[in-house]
Structure formats: structure tokens, C-alpha cells
């Protein structure tokens, strides 16, 4: 009786250990994939914004108003935010076919993108607002209103961009799987081109 109870306890502990290991494996995203996908998303988003701005003629005014150092700092900050968001999105499984459902990736992509939008716009408005309030304390209510509206707009734009980029990521991953497929082991090397 005692042996049986002891065996049950051991099996239960083993099962818990395996489940814990599985969970840890699922919850940790591959750093290579995070770095690739995050920077791909950042580059694609930046290029779409640049192209739209250039074709609409709005780019000149925007870039003239933004200094080099603040522009580079904002880009670096956005890069960090995207890395953190993509790490979270991919912690639930990678983007390779069969790892997870596309729906789950879309939902996480939207939430992650919304987070990036809130982080970028919200902190930008807060920093600018804090400077404005120090100079003119009467502006507090206006700054709070602008921060609220800006953060909501940032969240919505970020969520839409996050969902669109999640679709792009899945498409690129699927093309990648077709272009360089997994095949049966073949250890021979081919001739040089």
C-alpha cells in the first residue's frame, strides 16, 4: 500500500516536471526568430510609412520638423518596443507551419501592436506634455486630454499595424517553408554555381 502511494507520488512528480518543461519550452521564444521577425516588421512598417509619406508629399515637412538626434532616438525606442512585443507574440509558439493557429498569431499580433502604439505615442505625449506642464501649469487638463486621445489612437493604429504585420509574417514564413523545404536526409553537397 505504502509502495503504491510512493509510486503514485513519484509518477505525479515526474508528470508535473514534464509538463513544466513543456510549458517552459513553449513559453520561451527563439531569440533568432524574435530578432528576425521584429526587425523585419520594423523595416516593413517604416518603409510603408516612408513610401506613403513620400508619395503624398508629406515627408518633406515631417522630416524637416524632426531633428536627427530625436529621430534616431525615437527609431531606437520603437525598435526596442517592437522587439519586446514580438518576443511576447512568439512566446506562445513560433510562426512555422503547425506550431500554432494563424488566428492566435493574429490576436497576439494585434495586442502586441496595440502595446507598441501605446508605448510609443503615450510616452511621447507624456514626455512632451510634462515639459509643457512645467512651463505652463495651466495646461495640465489639455495635456491630459491630448495624452488620452493620443494613446487611444496609438493603440488602434498599432493594433491594425500589428495584425497586418502578423499576416505578412505568416505569408513570408510559408513562402520560406516552400522555397527551402524540409526533405529526407541527404548528406551529399551539390556542385557550386
Amino acid at each position: 500500500m505504502g509502495d503504491r502511494a510512493s509510486r503514485d507520488e513519484t509518477e505525479s512528480a515526474d508528470r508535473a516536471e514534464v509538463e513544466s518543461a513543456d510549458r517552459a519550452e513553449v513559453e520561451s521564444a527563439d531569440p533568432f526568430e524574435v530578432w528576425t521577425v521584429a526587425t523585419f516588421d520594423l523595416a516593413a512598417f517604416s518603409l510603408v510609412v516612408l513610401l506613403s509619406g513620400h508619395l503624398s508629399g508629406a515627408l518633406a515637412g515631417t522630416l524637416t520638423g524632426l531633428g536627427t538626434v530625436p529621430g534616431l532616438a525615437a527609431f531606437g525606442y520603437l525598435w526596442v518596443l517592437v522587439l519586446v512585443a514580438v518576443r511576447w507574440v512568439l512566446s506562445d509558439g513560433g510562426i512555422a507551419e503547425g506550431n500554432r493557429s494563424v488566428g492566435s498569431l493574429l490576436i497576439r499580433g494585434s495586442v502586441g501592436g496595440g502595446g507598441v502604439g501605446v508605448g510609443l505615442v503615450g510616452s511621447g505625449v507624456l514626455v512632451g506634455g510634462a515639459v509643457a506642464v512645467v512651463r505652463a501649469p495651466g495646461l495640465l487638463a489639455t495635456v491630459a486630454f491630448v495624452a488620452l486621445v493620443g494613446t487611444v489612437v496609438g493603440a488602434v493604429v498599432g493594433a491594425v499595424a500589428g495584425a497586418a504585420l502578423a499576416v505578412c509574417n505568416v505569408a513570408v514564413a510559408r513562402v520560406s517553408e516552400r522555397v527551402v523545404p524540409k526533405t529526407e536526409p541527404d548528406y551529399s553537397s551539390s556542385s557550386s554555381s
Binding site: 523595416a43 518633406a60 534616431l72 527609431f75 522555397v179 527551402v180
Partner: protein, 143 residues
């Protein structure tokens, strides 16, 4: 002070392109050599590639701000439109290539022949696309 900063931004931009172009040729050559496992070189290049690409975009926007972007209907503006479109296509190509390299880790033993062939083509395409982007950048800078 401002011109020194712009010079530094341009220097970083050029060095970033050197990393991308030189690295793509190196990895293409590595894939042509039959006698060694190319995966460590490919992975190292991909890590560097995305870092350098992010820096290139940031400094490219900085350059554009310093020069003053033209209207889209001017000749300069048209070349810029073409360059941005080519770079966008190049980023998509690079995403395909990098994710393929990332999956190579799952394979045991030597890299498969078909993967080696396809990757060699992708790295050659990367090098040629970068050459085209450099040519467009030269037209923008001097033409």
C-alpha cells in the same frame, strides 16, 4: 556641429551597407564550398544583417532629412520612389531567406543538398539586389 553629425550618419549608413553587401558575398561563397557546414556563418550573418538593416533605415531617414526630400513628381523623387520600392521587395526577400536559415537548426547532420542549393540562390539574389540598391543610392547622391 550639424554637418559633423550628418557626416557621421552618412558614414554609419555606408558602413552598414558594406556589412550587408560584403556579408552576402561571403555567405554565398561559403555555400559554394562543399567541405564545411555553412550554418554557423549563415546564422552569424543573419544576426548581423537585421541589425545593420535597422541601422541603415534609421540613418537613411536621417540622410533624407538632411538633404531635404524632394516632391514625388520630380526626377529625384521618382528615383527615391523606385529605391523605396526595391528596398521593400528586398526586405521581403530577406525575411524569406532568414526564416529559412533559422529552420536549418532543426536538421541534424549536414545541411541538405536542396536547402544548400536554394539558399545559395537566395544569397546570390541578396547580393545582386544590394548592388541595385547601391546603384540607386549613387544616382540619388550624385545624379
Amino acid at each position: 556641429m550639424a554637418s559633423a553629425l550628418h557626416l557621421l550618419v552618412r558614414l554609419v549608413h555606408v558602413l552598414g551597407m558594406a556589412v550587408l553587401l560584403g556579408g552576402s558575398v561571403l555567405t554565398w561563397q561559403t555555400l559554394r564550398a562543399d567541405d564545411r557546414d555553412p550554418r554557423p556563418v549563415l546564422r552569424r550573418y543573419e544576426w548581423l544583417f537585421w541589425g545593420a538593416l535597422g541601422v541603415l533605415i534609421a540613418t537613411g531617414v536621417g540622410n533624407l532629412g538632411a538633404l531635404g526630400p524632394p516632391g514625388p513628381t520630380t526626377r529625384w523623387g521618382s528615383v527615391l520612389t523606385v529605391k523605396l520600392l526595391v528596398v521593400t521587395g528586398f526586405v521581403v526577400l530577406s525575411g524569406v531567406r532568414s526564416l529559412a536559415v533559422g529552420r536549418l537548426d532543426d536538421d541534424s547532420g549536414a545541411i541538405r543538398a536542396i536547402a544548400r542549393d536554394r539558399l545559395r540562390i537566395l544569397y546570390a539574389a541578396t547580393g545582386w539586389a544590394l548592388g541595385a540598391i547601391v546603384a540607386l543610392a549613387e544616382v540619388l547622391a550624385h545624379g
